[in-house]
Symmetry: C2
Subunit: 218 residues, 2 copies
Amino acid sequence: MTSFTEENYLKIIYMLTELNGGNEVSTNELAEHTQTKAASVSDMLRKLAEKSYINYRKYQGVTLTKEGQRIALSVIRKHRLWEVFLVEKLGFGWDEIHDIAEQLEHIDSKELTEKLDDFLGNPQFDPHGDPIPDAKGKMPTMGYQKLSDTPLNQPVVMMGVSVHSPTFLQHLDKNQITLGCTIKIQEISEFDKSFTIVLNDTHTIFVSNEVAKNLLVK
Amino acid sequence: MTSFTEENYLKIIYMLTELNGGNEVSTNELAEHTQTKAASVSDMLRKLAEKSYINYRKYQGVTLTKEGQRIALSVIRKHRLWEVFLVEKLGFGWDEIHDIAEQLEHIDSKELTEKLDDFLGNPQFDPHGDPIPDAKGKMPTMGYQKLSDTPLNQPVVMMGVSVHSPTFLQHLDKNQITLGCTIKIQEISEFDKSFTIVLNDTHTIFVSNEVAKNLLVK
DNA sequence: ATAAATTTTTAGGTTTGTCTAAAAATTTGA
DNA sequence: TCAAATTTTTAGACAAACCTAAAAATTTAT
């Protein structure tokens, strides 16, 4: 059995490993993301290593074992499926769903997850454009780039965001930047690297470099 | 904040109080239903009393305070709404949903509960015919009777069950006894008080007294 | 009415996941 | 390179929710 807390650690280790490009995750990094102290993380790492969910050499950081990865992916799968449910079926905004999905992701029932998946039409991506692993843990590939890395005048489609903070998402809402909209970069300011973009071929808006860096497009 | 465990105790106290016709619930009764020992229940009762969720005089059993009742009803509301979701939207059988709903009932988000309620069409009863309290904690009234208390030849409608065990529910499925079907008692055996009933005016079946006692009809 | 049986509480312990403080290992930089 | 800074681990505690064993209160039954 895997506790709520253990599942959270494994999920966070998975995500930080991805961010790190596959490298070990450090105790301090984990402490920040679990809202606990490094000492508590050390304790938990010893425990997760005992259960063979992580590869752990003292002072060297951790990576997930096959089994740890399986559990992490199952939690991420549930999180993202529930996010689709909250937005598509219940009408929540994409900025309102994170905390609820953090709870729902720990509900333990394979049958539930698979029926939910079917009910939602087996979605491949969640409302933020993040890929949903399938029942076997396989992630759809995305191959997206940052809007900030896109050439001028090349029309692209908005596919996801790399930051999930409610304020960022609300900012996008206010500017009518939604998943699926088309974006063409008209100009990048010399001064502050802010972007002038055309949305859906219809209207022109300005977004900061900070925004452009966190928009994923194809 | 109310923990998962505290919520469970309050829910169980509510239900046992109902069963007792409003009387105090004893420590031993609670120990049985929480799958713990009387000593553990004692500890928890002291804690719940400190938080003013229950009225507790040592050795005298407990009842809920207004606040305890409010929390219990909110947990029951969530449990029953999720059961409707599982059956109506995901296609689970009524015998498969209890354990999943036991987990979902603790998800903490008022917005979620109310949006789920709307999504389901504000149902008044769950898949077992149990009443769903509204957001203020008000229960729809039922006024049902046991099939076993119904006169011969009076057609009634099946409205609920007073036992939720999967085997009982599967037994009803096998006999095509479902919520909403019509039932007419044709005969009651002198010997074992078993029932011969007509289902939906179309076919005749036999059910034991044990079954008839646990069918709620109107 | 009071002894026996039952129920409930108390006392003392365990496990999980957290903490602070201090020790140990690693990394950084002069 | 080696001392200072940083990171990580260990040691010792604590709260929540459970346990067993024993004591205390209540109920039952002669």
